[in-house]
Symmetry: C2
Subunit: 289 residues, 2 copies
């Protein structure tokens, strides 16, 4: 059998890196890119990330064996609706959205039911950069990809998507979509909001030039994720607000607790909080590095 034709809709950091990695490891044949932004497509072509492109998703999926939706979470439903009538009967579709419940709901609404050959997925990988120029082969090496198949999902389709991610170096785990959204709200969505919120608050302070001038390396690392793509994160926040908003309020209450500890000079309580956090993080990084 020929190597499968891959169609990547949304050729940015994630879509581009998947295309590069799949090609480099000989997992796919022709790679067709699609985007609303023809500049990105031309760049992807020039970089050899894709073999050709289409600006319309309906045309892009023609003849594709595997279709990867790598657009912001808010655009998934519309794209699915547009490609659905044009998919090959054997084509498998997956996505890389950072929210899974909302993507599944959008697809269900767009086409009436979750298609058996649609496998929702999310690679836990990325950088603060965006766009195809930032994409690279190797982004997924050793990282986790979470697949969240639903009862309607065809196990053979899930296996194909699993093979793609395993092939580009990721460890694949399956998880309930709602669980995925809760875990990611805690480890990714909330931290992004904190980083964005902090940088924005400081930037709006009158003396922000001086403030940023005296920021050290810790601040640069802490705020790195605030350089992420605003459209992508707007969509994530809107589509996972059910999980994020309660966590955000819980965290604000934690901060109020820390403020009261400070006001009342409770050094022991502060020390306990900091020591517990340090121990948890040291344990976590030990397991990862």
């Amino acid at each position: 059998m020929d190597r499968p034709r891959l169609c990547v809709i949304g050729v940015g950091l994630i879509g581009g890196s998947l295309a590069r990695s799949a090609r480099a490891r000989g997992l796919v044949g022709e790679i067709v890119g699609c985007s609303r932004d023809e500049g990105q497509l031309r760049q992807a072509l020039a970089l050899g990330v894709i073999d050709r492109y289409q600006t319309q998703p309906e045309a892009a999926v023609a003849g594709a064996d595997l279709v990867v939706l790598a657009v912001p979470v808010g655009a998934m439903g519309e794209i699915y609706q547009r490609i659905h009538p044009h998919l090959e009967p054997t084509a498998v579709v997956t996505d890389v959205g950072s929210v899974k419940g909302a993507v599944i709901d959008q697809v269900r609404e767009a086409v009436g039911a979750v298609p058996a050959r649609f496998v929702p997925g999310h690679p836990i990988a990325g950088t603060e950069k965006s766009g195809v120029a930032a994409s690279f082969d190797g982004l997924f090496d050793g990282r986790c990809t979470i697949l969240t198949p639903v009862p309607e999902s065809d196990p053979a389709a899930t296996a194909q998507v699993r093979a793609l991610w395993t092939g580009v170096g990721a460890q694949v785990v399956e998880m309930d979509p709602r669980r995925h959204d809760e875990v990611l709200a805690a480890t990714s969505h909330l931290p992004h909001l904190l980083a964005y919120g902090l940088v924005d608050m400081l930037a709006r302070m009158e003396e922000h030039r001086e403030i940023f001038r005296y920021a050290a390396g810790g601040f640069r690392d802490f705020t790195r994720i605030a350089s992420s793509d605003p459209v992508m994160w707007r969509d994530i926040c809107l589509h996972n607000r059910a999980a994020i908003v309660p966590l955000l309020r819980r965290f604000a209450a934690e901060l109020e607790g820390l403020a009261r500890d400070m006001e009342q000079g409770r050094g022991q309580a502060l020390h306990e909080t900091f020591a517990r956090a340090k121990a948890a993080r040291d344990r976590y990084t030990q397991n990862q590095e």
Copy 2:
């Protein structure tokens, strides 16, 4: 004139790095270390960071031309009180504390007035690590050191401390102590509290093992500062609470604003916040890198 004898009280990441850097660049003669933790001192000696050590600060400062206090902010007053009667008349004393107003107040209370040859200082450098084993020559290269001399300070003493920091590669700026504490509350103390608070909250969640398992690189960078020394940060929080607590509450209010934007589906407002933050951070890192 012989090269000055340096006494470093608190031979950890900062004290150790200053000793290594000053020695490597030929700025000092003998280096005497002092610490409550004799294990650290033995390690510092074995690593060649110091030439000899004393466990009592009174003895350590004997004959020293330059004394650097590199202990947690809460210990500065007591140390100053103990060394004051034993300092050479020409000795210059500086500190590296992350809070300046409280250190100056402590020294004033300890000895009745701020000595003319005490120059409060703070190198804006460090890592999440602590202890002399993590110290290295070069930590201060290209970084800022803020000196906050008070009206009582002898300009010649300030110049000597400035020369030390310039000699180890730092850019030295002078600033009002209160201003320093406000700027650092925003760029360093608040971020540390957010990182500690987030990791602690997640670690206390029942499913924390799974949560940390699916954390990506962004989370690792964001929480790096939560691996910092809990005693040091307890002291900073207690001694700069006047600046930190209002900022912490202001930030909690920002989070509530973001939560409401999400609840009410205000995508445009979220996008504006994220885009403003991204622009500010990209501008700031462009200037730094």
